[in-house]
């Protein structure tokens, strides 16, 4: 998306008419699935000070006599249940349930930004912190003064007391959004950073200003 192709009224109109995110829940692995709720059920996401209290149970999947209950990560309303699969064997990744999650203003800004930014995601479920060099540059000048290049060691992943350097592999850009706090436990695939190509910075600022100003 470039500044030329951003049509703010259209984008905001889209979110005004349907201010929801539709979160698909897919089979975490192959197995026999059993649904634990009906369509239109209200569900809760994870909660607790450490995000340790699981959300509402959504489905149970059994592999080799080992049942596992999968819970919702987000709050909302169940908009779709693939009932035809109830009690059947499914492959990993099969779409099972969709949850309609009501978006807040901050989430709408983030959703639009994530279409513009390059998202750098967690390679594994682990705890993450910035490399020493990046952390000291953030401390001195702030994240948005930092330009990162492909190949830069930006993050250290800590898993089972083993530290692994993580190298940036996206387009060069400015460290615009940081989605974790150093030492946070982050699930695999969840964005850690949003990197903005320098030429898109003004577009990003426009998005934030416009949504903040116009969204109730």
């Amino acid at each position: 998306m470039s500044s030329d192709t951003i049509h703010f009224d259209e984008i905001l109109g889209k979110y005004r008419s349907d201010p929801y995110d539709y979160v698909d829940m897919c089979a975490v692995h192959a197995g026999e699935v059993r649904f634990l709720l009906e369509e239109e059920a209200e569900v809760q996401g994870v909660s607790g000070k450490w995000q340790h209290i699981p959300g509402s149970p959504i489905y149970e999947i059994t592999r080799e006599r080992n049942p596992k209950v999968i819970t919702s990560k987000t709050n909302g309303t169940v908009s779709f249940v693939n009932r035809d699969l109830d009690g059947k064997f499914v492959e990993a990744g099969t779409k099972l349930v969709t949850i309609r999650h009501p978006l807040k203003k901050k989430e709408i800004i983030e959703a639009i930004l994530q279409e513009v930014l390059y998202l750098f995601s967690a390679p594994e479920r682990a705890r993450y912190y910035f490399s020493m060099d990046i952390q000291s540059r953030i401390d001195q000048k702030g994240a948005r003064s930092i330009v990162i290049q492909p190949g830069d060691e930006i993050i250290t992943m800590s898993l089972m007391k083993r530290d692994t350097p993580v190298y940036y592999d996206g387009d060069p850009g400015i460290l615009h959004s940081i989605y974790f706090s150093p030492g946070d436990s982050v699930d695999q695939g969840v964005p850690l950073l949003g990197v903005c190509p320098e030429e898109k910075l003004s577009v990003v600022q426009k998005i934030i200003t416009r949504v903040k100003a116009e969204w109730e």
Partner: protein
């Protein structure tokens, strides 16, 4: 001088009572055999890990061997996690090794466990009742007797290695004031000094076995599938650990920033520590550290 051949013989003799059938035992030993293929021994180094890291990162040097070991009699810049001071005088066993990252990520996560098991078994074999605190702190009745540091590094040619540093307190009888309540040594626990060369050889042999066991577990997992509770490394770790059932404080850096308290109820099949909080809820941690209360 410990030769690789002697080391292989020692590993085979130490596993004479292996619970596995003879062909499996041989397979495990084969997997672990590269450990100790090259050993260099120094009197004094800043850190053994730095020397090996430098070799892996140097573009103009030969590619390091997997299983290459560096040992020093004393370290001048010993460090634990978060830059914590590691007391490493003469009388301790200080070493590091490189292991090429050939394991799948879902198995390489157990390498720190395998190394901890080897250290704990070695200390036990020499008379002290060591146990493992999640992930791999080796201690005797709450006092640390061994420390392990594991990093993954990318070599100059893009090759990945696990770099493992190990420090065992052997014949150390006096610790700095700030460590006295936290640390102990084999000599303090058993009342007599040990031949460090002998303990070093035993440690390498047990590293061969336990890293071999990890590789064998991966092989089994890929060929036949491993169900929950069947990972041989985790099973052995649980035999040696006193973490399950303990009341603990958890933190990413628990000394500086303890986060919460709870009781350890078990390990999940990924090695995650399952902690029951006081409100009855549970949380599973895959990184960080614990202190017993």
């Amino acid at each position: 001088m410990l030769s690789h051949g002697n080391l292989l013989d020692l590993a085979a003799s130490l596993t004479a009572d292996s619970p596995f059938a003879a062909p499996v035992t041989r397979s495990i030993l084969r997997y672990g055999a590269p450990l100790g293929c090259r050993i260099t021994h120094h009197h004094t180094l800043p850190r053994c890990m730095d020397l090996l890291r430098g070799r892996a990162l140097a573009g103009n040097a030969p590619v390091p061997h997997t299983g290459e070991v560096v040992r020093a009699d004393r370290l001048t810049g010993g460090q634990g996690r978060f830059g914590r001071y590691w007391f490493a005088p003469e009388g301790g066993l200080h070493m590091a090794f490189l292991w090429a990252d050939t394991l799948l990520p879902e198995w390489s996560r157990f390498l720190p466990f395998a190394v901890g098991i080897a250290c704990c078994e070695t200390i036990r074999a020499h008379g002290a009742g060591a146990t493992l605190k999640w992930v791999n702190d080796v201690h005797v009745q709450g006092r640390k007797i061994g420390g392990i540091l594991t990093e993954t590094i990318i070599g100059s040619r893009g090759d990945r290695y696990h770099l493992v540093g190990i420090g065992l307190n052997m014949n150390v009888t006096r610790f700095p004031e700030e460590l006295r309540k936290r640390a102990t040594s084999l000599q303090l626990e058993t009342g007599q000094p040990r031949a460090i060369d002998t303990v070093f050889a035993h440690l390498l042999a047990r590293l061969q076995w336990n890293i071999g066991l990890l590789c064998y577990g991966e092989e089994q997992g890929l060929s036949e599938g491993i169900g929950p509770g069947e990972n041989p490394v985790l099973l052995r770790w649980q035999e040696l650990s006193d973490s399950v059932g303990a009341r603990i404080v958890f933190g990413y850096d628990v000394w500086k920033k303890p986060l919460y308290e709870g009781i350890v109820t078990g390990l999940d099949d990924q090695g995650g520590l399952v902690i029951r909080l006081d409100d009855g809820s549970s949380i599973t941690e895959y990184s960080g550290e614990i202190e017993y209360q």
